[in-house]
Symmetry: D3
Subunit: 294 residues, 6 copies
């Protein structure tokens, strides 16, 4: 009997496997979702399974908390303006060392441990991410002031060729969000936005934001207020009405950016929920919030 | 919580999916296992799922009961010698019409209904199965007598080219066990033996016999006596000791034939058990009997 | 001298071989043209030769007389409305068994015997023919009445992928005209119409109707009245003037359907004429009637 | 009736077309066989037909008579030793101009005129024929004397890559027998021998020598003494017994060279016989002499 | 130190190598530029180097002086009208023998000697150049008179398929400017014009005219008056003002023809300047005159 | 004149470009050779040029000095035994961050800046380097003692698939020498030895050690004592005689390892010499020491 249930559950996944066969899913794997070994294992197994059943995950990861820790170790105080890290030369060096030299490799190792073949990359390789310095404006005394965030960039162009090759050869690409400008300078990118840009360029079907919240909720302390499905206009309405505020707003903007770039749906799931990615994709009800254009 | 269990079950399949990735499994789908709609649906879903997760099923089907019914309708009495159907011209016509014209198409339809792409074939297409008339001997009064079974054949050569093309292009081939001799005459083949021959020629990893028994049991009425794993020598021992008798013996010979042809393991499962194929492949304990060389 | 003539005849075919190189010809092989062994050999040899000289035949076959015989054997009376077979469940079963289980295999065998590589298929495999139930209307007392023909369908969509693969790999596809509707039900198709639909979908250059008449004649008893070449408007004119009547009209409609679907020319030839297909294609004068758009 | 005969003749070619499908035939087209326009047309049509029915002709041509004429026009006297043209620098220039600049192009033109796609080459292109200076010995007063033939070479290595590409892309290569030594000097090659070397390197099934004789005859004036099939040992026997003498001996040696290099059969046919190549290949009895190893 | 200079020079070529990577350059190699062994070596080495660094040269050669010499040897007087050779049948034969049988092969040999893989072709092979008889008009007594130049043609269509294959397989094609009309007659083509036509058809980036002058100069005796870069309108201006006259005008027209056909720039360089092709391409200043559309 | 010299120098490289076309060169780029911006530019330009002229560089880099600096900044003292870095967990983290997160990216950036397409990798991606913990022995009081170096490994297996794909798609792979053991733990590898192992696995023609010495010299202060070419036995002789001592010995062992693994020649060049790689490859005399088997 228990056996039968197992089989039924496998079979339940079949329509989803058929539907998403050969599609690309961009997984934005946030630093806050990498809280413990177990959570990291859940994600890794989910992504390897996706790959084996014919869906192509492409990972863009963050690493904010770890970067902060490394900075503090070196006696530097992290500073953010509008959710973007102020990045001087020394900070950029730390960002790259932590993202590319540590977190990226850890994700690759986990994926390979569970049977996947992964390739760690930054936006520097194969001219993957061409970026330009981001000009940030701030309103002060009802005047627009230009703020210098340092070596912070925004995506100008994504050259998908290298990723296409790797995906086609059955690798899972794992990308650190560092871009290069036309002078060859590295730039620190916001991982959420970059993920949306890459998803759009790759014609990804879905962008799945693996975060540390369950999704968009009316009341963050009440799981029953979680929205399963929202349209952009509903979200804009919620922002206007003050239901969505603070740190969530830049993430929401990244979601809308992805939809604008051609992604069909964006999903916010909680990396601390066991196998959240798999459940969001392979079950009717899902576990997080799905955002669609309309 | 229930969600979590679902995901865990999917993930449990991962090592098996990795291990069998890109391999070929020959599914011998027996006529006695096609007892009802539900059982046929279970098998079809299992095979489509296998295909989508990167394992390549190739189906060889039987159809004995249905052939008998058709013959009786036409006023002919089915006759068997040593488990092989005596096949005159008229019988051969009925065999072909039922196998190729009915059962094969029904299997193809089921597979396509659940999202697979299937192609129905007989051994006549693409010179798939070159056969020769089978010479059957009988011991009578301690004398070896040659028996004429009529248009009954045994496989001489399997040309895998057509199947290779179809498998590579992501189709599930469904094969009726009719062969052709060098004069172009059709011959009725024993589906169990033919399945083993095709499995060997295709370098299939497994031959899965979907039957109407749970496997090899010491006492057919006591499920607890089911053997999970047997070697050829253990089986030979069981035959010698009289544990395996009667109608099971030709099937066992077909299993040994497959192992001789290079198949790594043969599995006997019960098509009436829900999702028997999936459970046999994707769970540690399995549901039937696995036979290996040693 | 005789030798020389032989060579000259081979060479005469050269311009046609050049002209039609790599093109696809849809051969509608009618049940009435399969009258005897010799006639079946002629056709088979013609098609194998076409394949070897670089022209790609695709066969769609009928089988009306054989189906009628099988039905009568089972005590059923064939019934037709407007040339379409009224098809209840039992009839459909017989149609499939005869077409797929018998005639299709016989054609495949013949082709393979003369050196071709053939693959027998029905519209069920590889989602080849998606069909829908045909709604037939009848005029009665100047009122349009809807007639239920049972499991009779018309082609909704032809998925050419499987055929393309087989043709490219140098197989001759032989197709039984059975389609599948969106619920997975099989439907009996008119072979003439289906052949035109497949020809159009495959971008076939020619549709060759192998029948039991020499072509379109003003007087069916006077061979000298055979038309070698007709345009659609000439044919419409002949119908209006009553030169073409009765059973020929549905066939003519099938020809016009094929031209509408993009076929360059439709040819009606007599399968009882030795090597009619070859002669129609490879000689200036031809042996049957060619119909072109204008 | 006449129509029927035509078709039968086409069909008679079928077994040969099947048998030789995709094989390569090396056609040595001798200068003496290019006697008139009509004969040149026969050969060209034969080769184009071969190509279209799936057999791949590769042409190596001679041009002795035309070279002699050109030399005489320039006031030079052709000189031969053991059938090899003594070749000083000026002669080599004439040889190249006539072979590459005239005869090769004429053959290409004829082939293209009848629907073929041909490419004219010499052994200079694509390092096709690496040659070395031929050391010729002469017995004089029972002493072996080395003779300097000038710029005459023998094949050292055939690089088949260029020809393989052209054949695969459906071109007919037409090759002038000029080789290049390791210092980059051009060398005049004996076309018969070179044809055998190229045939061997290309794994050609047949070498067909298109000459101005009907084959090997016991009495050159009695057509009835023509041998249809000979083995090497039979030929050696004939030479010993004096049946084969004079100018025929070097040609025979070229035939044996080809068989040694792996060609299955060598055919000697008369280019003045209409469609000799076609008849030799596509009829049971042939028109010339076939030589096989044993 | 000297070593360092060597390396610097190699490195200086890098931006040009990057820029022109995988592009096609049409090299028109004029007969007047083949003056001596050394000059021929320079060109050959330049082209082989280009090929190895990833730029694809395609050579169209002339051979006027050599043709004249051959004609005179045969007692014929070369005759030109408006720079086009009057070409009777005998002249055409000489043209083909010299161009295809001699000069083409010499270029191929040189290229192969320096490590290239070259293939000699005329416009006759692979239907490369389809031409038509050129109608030439002359003004006489202010009347337009049609002049018969004999077998002189102009390009009607270039079939790039053969060249594409050869370039892709890493060969350097060397083309003699002989075309074929629709009746299969060979026609003598002006090499300058043909080179432009082929360059356009092949989507060549550059047409490089290797001549015996340094480029376009205001005063042909004063090297310092050489124009490095000119636009079409500047050139037209120069012609109008009488700076460009005589034999240079047809060459200029050929340049403009190439630009019209889509070539990005045409270069006139002096084949007697050591490595003129390399220097023109790989140095900032160049050595000849570059002509661009505007 | 100067122009001519430039061209001559380009042409001088031609034989080397031909000879090494399509081969793979493993470049071991040592940390001591990355002393200044200019030296890093020289190397980057050299490698990009190699790639463009058809030679495939694969880079394995070191980074010792930079790792030391980073460790010291964090208050850790680098410790070496027999030239291998003692590597505790914290050290390994620093090693990875510096190698993968900083140096690797810097090399990639330089290569891309000069027109190359580079991909940064560690041995973790695509299961590139499977390693095992290195057991190091020390002789102490004439007793062999096992020393624990911590997370230090040696290459067990190189999976070339990912590199093969990247090389074939025209990328320059840049590899940080970090391996993974069977438990998924990262291990710090000696870059010299790893470079030889990868070179052998990739069938590289050459291993070029870019160091901070000019090569092997009898007297390190006397440039004139530099050996241009040495065999293994000559080197062993020099070691025995005490000409090669100290820090050079492990490097020499790495060279011999590479030759053992099948590399044809190992070159030691000085990264501070302008364009040392290019000069070593493209000039007769070279600039460093070449070591060959015999």
């Amino acid at each position: 009997m228990e056996q039968y249930t197992k089989a039924e559950i496998l079979i339940e996944a079949l329509p989803y496997i058929c539907k998403f066969h050969d599609q690309k899913f961009l997984i934005k794997y946030g630093g806050h979702a990498m809280v413990n070994e177990q959570a990291r294992n859940w994600i890794a197994k989910d992504l390897v399974l996706l790959k084996y059943v014919g869906i192509n995950p492409i990972v863009v990861h963050g690493g904010g908390p770890e970067i902060n820790r490394a900075m503090e170790k070196m006696g530097k105080t992290p500073e953010f303006i509008h959710g973007l890290r102020v990045t001087d030369e020394e900070t950029l060096e730390i960002v790259k060392m932590v993202l590319i030299g540590k977190i990226n490799g850890d994700i690759v190792s986990k994926l390979e441990r569970y049977g996947g073949k992964a390739v760690g990359l930054s936006g520097k390789s194969g001219q993957l991410i061409k970026a330009k310095k981001k000009i940030q404006y701030l309103m002060k005394d009802s005047q627009k002031i230009e703020i210098d965030l340092g070596m912070v960039g925004e995506v100008e162009h994504v050259d998908t060729k290298l990723i296409d090759i790797l995906v086609e050869k059955r690798y899972i690409p794992v990308i650190s969000p560092i871009g290069v400008d036309h002078q060859g300078n590295d730039l620190n990118l916001n991982a959420d936005i970059a993920a949306g840009d890459i998803a759009g360029a790759m014609n990804a079907e879905k962008l799945i934001m693996v975060t540390d919240v369950d999704g968009i909720m009316d009341d963050i302390n009440d799981q029953s207020t979680l929205h399963r499905r929202l349209t952009i206009s509903q979200i804009e309405d919620m922002i206007e009405k003050g239901f969505i505020t603070g740190g969530m707003i830049p993430k929401i903007e990244a979601c809308i950016n992805a939809l604008d770039k051609g992604v069909q749906s964006v999903h916010i799931v909680n990396g601390k929920t066991p196998h959240a990615v798999l459940l969001e994709i392979f079950t009717e009800e899902g576990v997080g919030t799905m955002i669609v254009k309309e």
